[in-house]
Symmetry: C2
Subunit: 143 residues, 2 copies
């Protein structure tokens, strides 16, 4: 049994004669991964969509842990993300925007902003891409 | 309709009162995302697993496109990946290893290695994390 706090493992297998992969980690449903036409067939998530979900879930996890430690009860929480790609190779993200919506009684904008900067500093995915990509976080708070 | 060659969008919504998220992109099955106990409940992929799948599918896609352009017929193709995490915050990957297995008639190790270095140079995800993380690619070729 792998200790995921130390090491993480995944596997990927080509599933058709084009670019469809099945991505997998033990104990989870397979993830269909593909690329967009005409190169691929749009039959699954693209690599860059998985990157955005990786980043937003990492920021989300850090935020929730920190807000709850402050005694906040989170009633609703979501993050939409979008990334703009460079138009030359490698077509990496030039800029990523995360839109965080949170509903928690008594949460103030200044409390949220303080928590957000702490969350950024502990999120591994943020740390790994912040040198190459500008990341902007927007937020909407409901009480 | 979004042109994914320019812009990519995802969404994430908290799905229980702990750290389970549903990640989603239109047209695809939802991805369950969670963290490991005791903080989370291990009910889905972790953010860092999604990061590894993002990287390995990106490298895999670039490799397949380039190998096929050289006239190779890919009979089997898979990538296993593992990442070792730092033991202090942020617990990002210190090092990632990708293990590529490919079966293609007539493919030689030197052809593969040349193709691999071209694939690295066009893979967006590689580009985004290469400054922060050492990435090592191993390969096994069958004819």
């Amino acid at each position: 049994m792998i200790d995921k706090s130390k090491q993480v493992t995944t596997s990927l297998i080509l599933a058709n004669d084009r670019l469809l992969f099945n991505g997998h980690v033990d104990g989870n449903s397979k993830i269909a991964i593909d690329y967009i036409p005409p190169i691929g067939d749009n039959l699954g998530y693209t690599s860059l969509e998985l990157m955005l979900l990786s980043l937003s879930s990492c920021v989300g996890t850090a935020l929730l842990v920190l807000l709850r430690r402050q005694g906040k009860v989170i009633e609703e929480f979501s993050i939409k993300s979008d990334g703009t790609r460079r138009q030359t190779h490698p077509t990496a993200f030039e800029e990523i925007h995360l839109y965080v919506s949170v509903k928690a009684q008594g949460l103030t904008p200044s409390e949220f902003e303080k928590t957000l900067s702490l969350a950024e500093s502990i999120c591994p995915v943020w740390y790994m891409i912040k040198e190459s990509t500008r990341i902007v976080i927007h937020h909407q708070i409901a009480n």
